[in-house]
């Protein structure tokens, strides 16, 4: 049943969420009807039997294309997958443009405030996205009306082989409990840091109990905390969308990638910017051993920098692997391959 499951999944992921579950259920039922009719059995179907039935049904792209509502599309099912791929690439290019221009501005002599930098990144991203998607839509809408339908059908029919169906990837599934826990945790963390961050310090005793100033520096509150709040706020927003959608989709994958680029920016600022640790708090806390202040302060600062650097490297690796997944999921390799052939 593995090929049947893969087929139903591949058709379903190309359909609007509104009808997906219903169509998937019906399609599975119809495929089993066809298998039973062909084999005379009610289960335990061999791979060849599944292949034969799936070939009769047609490729997932064709099947999904026929299930999609026709009238409302500027770009029809035949071109839709390629269009989606191009839009993803444009989204990636927009992100890259936003990150590069913002990074260049940030390290320049007249670096604006964090808020202005974020605004600039956002504007660049939206500009690239709108002009790119607008042009792509226009071109595809024209192609849709110019290229005869038979041109697509012949190619697709030749390529379709049920044995090539990709495995169902659990990456698309979400873990509701984890998302809810993340939302609650981040909301509490944000509230705690914004409302009580200034009070996160130590206590010491010199005959009476005293509390130190906050261990977190002024730079943490003015430079980094706004970035954290934006980052965590966007994560919560994304988690809510995921809970509503029930699984990862193209849009949420793009926003997730965007958030990872934001992580790279934040970690870069943390690495190159002022310390998050309040040296004054250390001096107060270690008043009895002043020689330890410098050593401990240095160790703490180095430890944090190493931590930020490791996190930065992990995030860059994550971004690269997610971009690779994009290329694989949306068949960018077909474009690359066809260029090689040409």
């Amino acid at each position: 049943m593995e090929l049947i499951n893969r087929y139903v999944y591949q058709v379903g992921r190309r359909l609007p969420e509104r009808t997906r579950a219903d169509v998937e259920q019906e399609l599975r039922s119809l495929l089993l009807d066809a298998l039973e009719e062909r084999t005379g059995r009610t289960g335990d179907f061999a791979e060849e039997e599944q292949v034969a039935v799936l070939e009769e049904f047609g490729s997932p792209e064709q099947m999904a294309g026929k299930y999609r509502p026709q009238a409302r599309y500027v770009i029809g099912p035949k071109l839709y997958d390629l269009y989606r791929l191009i839009v993803t690439v444009i989204g990636g290019a927009g992100l890259l443009a936003a990150v590069v221009t913002t990074a260049v501005t940030a390290v320049g002599p007249d670096a604006p405030s964090v808020l202005n930098l974020l605004l600039q990144a956002w504007t660049t991203f939206i500009n690239v996205l709108l002009s790119g998607i607008g042009s792509a839509t226009l071109i595809f809408a024209v192609l849709e009306r110019v290229i005869p339908e038979e041109e697509f059908e012949l190619d697709e029919e030749k390529k379709w082989n049920p044995r090539d169906l990709p495995a169902i990837e659990p990456r698309d599934e979400i873990k509701r409990a984890s998302l809810i826990a993340e939302i609650v945790f981040l909301a509490l963390l944000m509230t705690a840091l914004v409302a009580f961050g200034q009070r996160i310090g130590g206590v010491y005793y010199d005959g009476t109990w005293h509390s130190t100033p906050s261990f977190l520096s002024a730079a943490f509150f003015s430079l980094y905390l706004p970035l954290f709040v934006v980052r965590w706020g966007l994560t919560i927003l994304q988690d809510v969308v995921l809970l509503r959608q029930g699984r990862w989709q193209l849009g949420t994958r793009i926003t997730d990638l965007l958030l990872h680029f934001l992580d790279i920016y934040i970690l870069g600022r943390l690495l190159g910017g002022p310390s998050v640790v309040n040296a004054e708090a250390l001096q107060v806390a270690l008043a009895g051993a002043p020689e330890a202040v410098d050593v401990l302060g240095m160790l703490l600062q180095r430890g944090l920098q190493i931590g930020f650097l490791v996190a930065l490297l992990i995030t860059v690796f994550e971004v690269v692997s997610r971009m690779y997944q994009f290329i694989r999921d949306y068949k960018l390799w077909i474009v690359i391959k066809s260029k090689q052939v040409n």
Partner: protein, 112 residues
């Protein structure tokens, strides 16, 4: 030449699909049983074409459908509704007049 003829025949058949399907849905049927019913009467339709077509006809308000949970697996049954019946009658009438006209045209061509 043969390929051109095949394409034209496919196009001709495509034009009759909706009428064929509607004509067999005065009684309830699920996808596969409808395919079999049509095949028994000499009308072969690809499954990849028939099942999405049923959905579209339902969205156009011509069919009513419901899930049946009483069999070995859930099945979605389709049947003509009142609008579908009216549309079927109209299409059938149009079909008969087209057949008569075509018959006339082809007969004249054969006599030449």
């Amino acid at each position: 030449m043969i390929e051109v003829a095949q394409n034209l025949i496919s196009e001709l058949r495509r034009g009759t699909l909706v009428l064929s399907v509607l004509s067999q849905l005065q009684e309830q049927a699920y996808g596969y049983s409808l395919k079999e019913r049509l095949a028994e009467r000499g009308v072969e339709i690809d499954q990849g074409t028939l099942y999405p077509l049923l959905r579209r006809l339902e969205e156009q308000g011509l069919l009513h459908s419901e899930w049946s949970l009483t069999e070995s697996r859930p099945r979605r049954y389709y049947q003509l509704n009142a609008t579908g019946q009216t549309v079927l009658d109209t299409l059938a009438q149009e079909w008969r007049s087209m057949v008569a006209a075509m018959h006339q045209l082809l007969q004249e061509q054969e006599e030449k």
